[in-house]
Symmetry: C2
Subunit: 251 residues, 2 copies
């Protein structure tokens, strides 16, 4: 992906003037099964990506699923990169946003925003990879980031610090979630649970002469599943970050 053809650097779908004429009437025409339109294509793409992973997601497979020739899709969507951006924004719309009227503490809202983002990304592991590749400035992504900005605006942080604070939180969440998804996928590929797979890798590493069983990495489950520990670690690091950025503030 990502502009094999170096001649003309690809612009984000969201920065491309809308092709107005193309595929704009699917909705009005009645959603009789056979008909193609942008939304149906995107929804199908998301479903296939979820079911089979991005490695197996091809324009040809998508067309087959839509009962159509590969090139039909191109009437509605310019190229695969655009489609990925569209699909990504679609799942961004699934992120549960906290109700601003609920009057909760901003820290709580920030944490639940982070958790909602993580949940959605883990539910669509291909999405986080795409998130790293594209600009993520579609309407749903922008709504999410507007919500995050509204939350941080309720913090006692000086206005000039807020963007950096928000970036820090979501860079962390992105990093955490990337790793988490990858382990889950590795496990799935290997036909094991993530726990089993981690255990297996740790075992192989322990035998290697390079690292003298340096401790760490593993051997820290005492009754809790890896999943529970992941959740706890996620929360803890968020607390650290938030506590750190609030240190020395009046509130």
């Amino acid at each position: 992906m990502a502009a094999k053809r170096a001649s003309q650097p690809r612009r984000s779908v969201w920065l491309t003037p809308e092709p107005t004429t193309r595929g704009r009437r699917g909705a009005e025409r009645g959603s009789g099964a056979g008909h193609l339109d942008r939304e149906k294509i995107i929804a199908t793409a998301v479903r296939l990506l979820d079911e089979q992973g991005d490695a197996k997601f091809t324009m040809r497979a998508l067309a087959t699923e839509l009962d159509v020739t590969p090139m039909s899709v191109y009437w509605y969507i310019a190229n695969k990169d655009d489609l990925m951006e569209l699909a990504l924004d679609a799942v961004a719309g699934e992120i549960e946003l906290p109700d601003p009227a609920a009057g909760r503490d901003w820290r709580e809202d920030l944490r639940s925003l982070a958790l909602a983002w993580r949940r959605t990304m883990v539910a669509h592991p291909w999405a986080i990879r795409s998130y790293g590749e594209y600009l993520n400035i579609g309407p749903q992504s922008m709504q999410f980031s507007a919500c995050a900005q509204a939350v941080i605006a309720r913090s006692p942080l000086p206005e000039a610090e807020r963007p950096a604070a928000l970036s820090a939180v979501f860079q962390y969440v992105y990093g955490f979630t990337s790793m988490e998804s990858r382990w889950l996928e590795y496990g799935k590929e290997a036909g094991r649970t993530a726990d089993e797979f981690l255990e297996e890798v740790a075992g192989s590493i322990a035998q290697s002469p390079e690292i003298a069983a340096g401790g760490g990495l593993m051997e820290r489950h005492s009754g809790h599943s890896l999943g529970e520990m992941r959740d706890r670690d996620f929360d803890r690091a968020l607390d650290w970050l938030i506590a750190g950025m609030c240190a020395g503030l009046s509130d």
Copy 2:
């Protein structure tokens, strides 16, 4: 990449029993130019990846660069995934590790470790994408992580907390660096500096009706370049994280 063929899930190179016989003598044979060996292939791969990006990096291009038929490479390396893992571990070897004998504060060493990691990844933008895909358990990567563990072991954190603390730091660094690399690459692809490109995107977004110029994202340069601000934000977030995890400790 990543196991298109779902039949047999790929194992990491590092978990594969070494093929001992293959390509093991390049060094002894004298490094006369024409000869192929594992190390030469890896070094050339890294160079091509650096020069042209991973999108253009193909086994065929690599073979051409090595003045050889595409299939020659396969005598030494099983497949492209393995090669990527090998290349990734090679650049991991470039990360500057702090001298443990220097007697610096553990926080300082942790920060410089994070910065060194970030620098190396930004110098090889393809590497951070690979880092998200593979297991990263090669010898050089393990040496890095052993060093990080040694640093955190000098902290006053209780032993049980250390792995989580280390994870949190490097998850953040990974997230930060992913975004940073991506912006730099976007700028390069568009033939602009990262600053110009960000400016351009921000301009386009501001015009969109979706987001009512929510503020944030931009308009926060006061004499400093974006690069300087990035560096400062990176340091700040690390400080927050470290301060947060040390809060309530005796030291």
